[in-house]
Amino acid sequence: MALVLSGNADLLEIVALSLQVSLTATAIACLIGLPIGALVAIGRFPGRNAVLIVMNALMGLPPVVVGLLAYLHLSRSGPLGFLGLLYTPTAMIIAQTILIAPIVAALSRQVLEDLHAEYAEQFCSLCLTRFQTIQALLWDARYSLLTVGLAGFGRAVAEVGAVIIVGGNIDHLTRVMTTAIALETSKGDLALALALGIILLIIALGVNAAVQSVRMTAARQAYV
């Protein structure tokens, strides 16, 4: 516990890597998930319901399964093995991106569809292209989408199943908060594991509070 409170350099490194991996994964998942969510939100095409079901189902992807799939692809004997990405932070980012992109897509789809219901007729009257419509929806829903991104980040930073498989929990290289907690638990050092858990919780609280305050500022301007 004293180790945790004293801001030990190893610990800072673990926290920094956790944030770096999960924030990067969240950013990439948003780049992928938001356009997909927007396209499905405003699109009317055959099989749309099936797409919705798949998107919602993928939100519940078990991290271990994602980790395993990523491992099988990134392994030296897998199709992407030549990239040499296994047991790197990049591999962890890839796995977490796969894990949370469906969450971002499915939740943003809902947010954007609700907003589009309000804007659709006006946008038709203005003869906006599909691209302009998506652009406007994404921008006007930005504060709601911040919460969507937060949901993705929360899942990414808290999951252990995927990163421990593709990252390997290598000290000073791929050890993040959750894999460190798993390791300390397996060493029977429950106090340290718990202390790490508390730090994770504090980080989650901090990020949520920051987003909440941004949202409240936006709400005062009726931008939410």
Partner: protein, 272 residues
């Protein structure tokens, strides 16, 4: 140090992680017991100080470590399941297996000792007694080196515990530490390697019940992954690391590692 690490990590992210595949780093697929005991934290800085080679340890069960190495996802294999290791080499995945060190397995149990096996040094007898009493026993159940060893000991004792799986025989399907946590939580006997036990931090009222049987000997081996099968292997660095471990210097370092004034591993590499 931290800043440098962050910069390096950022660079790795940008160039797709290729920086970690640089010549002077290797991946060791290792059993959890050696990693959890803290041995690597002690050995690796010494080794890196001398050679400049960065060793990255992936600690998983022996079964998974071998599987990962067969997928070419490691440069060196360091595990403790001799038959599986020999099969690994015979199949061409490893160049050569060398005995590295040993410790021993022990059976730990609650101080109440429900099966009355405390102080026994006949492991088969103790296991038979646990089975006979129907006392809870928590097994790794994960195809790890420890698990394989445990199954072999059960076979020798003439008991098939898997018939009672879910009853008094509980297979956790987890690593050593997780199984110890679970076993201690339910008051079950657990077979563990001594190194993990000594450095384990959540012992509660548990003590070593059974120890000292020759059959509980736990041999670790080291195997460089074969570049003929896995061209991605960093063969020079891998050989350097394996060679250092079995050298006088590496062996002395292993012997010098102590937790709570107890030596955890006993080097026994063949004389060069």
């Amino acid at each position: 140090m931290l800043a440098r690490r962050l910069t390096a990590t950022a660079a790795a992210l940008i160039i797709g992680g290729a920086a970690w595949a640089q010549d002077q780093s290797i991946i060791v697929q290792s059993t959890t017991s050696t990693a959890n005991s803290g041995l690597y934290d002690y050995l690796l800085p010494i080794f890196q100080g001398e050679t400049g080679i960065q060793v990255n340890v992936v600690a998983v069960g022996t079964g998974q470590a071998i599987k990962n190495a067969e997928n070419c996802d490691g440069d060196v294999l360091l595990v403790h399941a001799k038959p599986s290791e020999e099969k690994f080499v015979a199949a061409g995945f490893g160049t050569e297996r060398t005995d590295l060190m040993y410790n021993d397995f022990v059976i730990v149990g609650p101080s109440a000792d429900p099966a009355g096996v405390g102080g026994m040094n006949d492991v088969q007898g103790a296991l038979a007694k646990i089975a006979g009493e129907g006392a809870l026993f928590a097994s790794r159940g994960d195809d790890s080196g420890t698990h394989k060893k445990e199954i072999a000991l059960w076979n020798d004792s003439g008991v098939d515990p898997t018939a009672a799986s879910g009853g008094w025989y509980r297979e956790t399907g987890s690593g050593m530490g997780a199984t110890l946590n679970a076993g201690i939580g339910m008051g079950a006997y657990v077979m563990t390697d001594r190194a993990t036990w000594i450095s384990f931090g959540n012992k509660q009222d548990y003590t070593i019940a059974v120890q000292g049987d020759e059959d509980m000997f736990n041999q670790y081996g080291v195997i460089p992954v074969n570049p003929a099968k896995c061209p991605s292997v960093n063969v020079d660095a891998a050989q350097t690391f394996a060679g250092w471990l079995v050298s006088d210097e590496g062996q002395d370092a292993i012997a010098a590692y102590k937790v709570a004034d107890q030596q955890l591993f006993f080097p026994n590499a063949p004389e060069n």
